[in-house]
Assembly symmetry: C3
Homo-oligomer: 154 residues x 3
Amino acid sequence: MAGEVEKNLEAAGYRLPEVGKPLGTYVQSVRCSNFLYISGKLPKENGRLKYPGKIGREVTVEEGKDAARLAALSVLATAKQAVEDLDRVKRIVEVTGYVAVAPGFLDAFEVLEGASEVFVKVYGERGRHARLGVGVAELPSNACLQLQAILEVE
Amino acid sequence: MAGEVEKNLEAAGYRLPEVGKPLGTYVQSVRCSNFLYISGKLPKENGRLKYPGKIGREVTVEEGKDAARLAALSVLATAKQAVEDLDRVKRIVEVTGYVAVAPGFLDAFEVLEGASEVFVKVYGERGRHARLGVGVAELPSNACLQLQAILEVE
Amino acid sequence: MAGEVEKNLEAAGYRLPEVGKPLGTYVQSVRCSNFLYISGKLPKENGRLKYPGKIGREVTVEEGKDAARLAALSVLATAKQAVEDLDRVKRIVEVTGYVAVAPGFLDAFEVLEGASEVFVKVYGERGRHARLGVGVAELPSNACLQLQAILEVE
């Protein structure tokens, strides 16, 4: 029987990306007690970074939302790798969105909705998370955003 | 019988702000096990952002401390909304202070004392937290600081 | 019998620094359940900050790696202060590396390997952590990097 979360993913037209190898001496996620800590996720498609640059300069808000969607799917792909069945994710606990923002471009934080919407579409109320948006100077690979996530798992 | 923490709040002359609605598809806090994760809190009074700008440019260190005080009170207001009685907060575990800083203005990090003092005045030793200060490029709504907090609750 | 982790530290030629006093109204670490939250750690040697400035401007990548090594040792020194015996650290769970980066200098994130290598040399597989690198505008004391760490302890 296909999992409920997988059905929701399919109904929303989402496809989970491959989880690449870490770029250094670390791992994609660590489980401790019922918490799953996910390493920083960048917006990638088919293994390649999408929408490099700063939001409000090289990247529009609409593109940034799509970037956030991709990074959120990467969070879920990493969770699946860790716990095998996405139904075993009980709650999206906390999401920190680091946004590479052109100086003074405050609309940049809207892009995080692209990530939050994925979590709520797929997990419903269990997908509603604590959230924080921070505008940063630079991100790895010149990514326009990076997500940090903590999940509760069975 | 009024809670002990409420008495400390009153004795210190603090008033908890209203907890506004989230600005997007997320929630103000998530509880998982004995941890309460609080969404990013900005310095607000009567629902309006106070002290917008960068610390060391539009905002002085003294104003920044007051901003940190307001954001800390917002953390406590959010915790109260989540667990009803502030006596059920057992520990302020971790506070990350994101500070919007004018380039090169290193005194900006002093402003976080304004938050730490609230927690210790209200909770005593249980209010002593792990802390981290980070100087960032931009924050939502052009806020001068934002607090991220994790609390232990009953 | 000397602890296993202490032996690994010695074999690697690492020496744990003194844990200084906090710079404000907070503590160096907080334990909650089996989690140990460590306050932000800067690269220090003999109590003095090393390698101040921005990576890619005043600080080279090699120097930044050494800075990350120093900050990682400071994480472990703080953990030892909290749990006495470093063998009681079960897992390095999550490490967030805030890097003060010269604008556009993307190689800056490589410096975090200097921290990850410490954790893996000393703890082996238990040292493999979730990791996140963020390029920030300013850090306390003009440090070139700061580490935030969560450890699982007995």
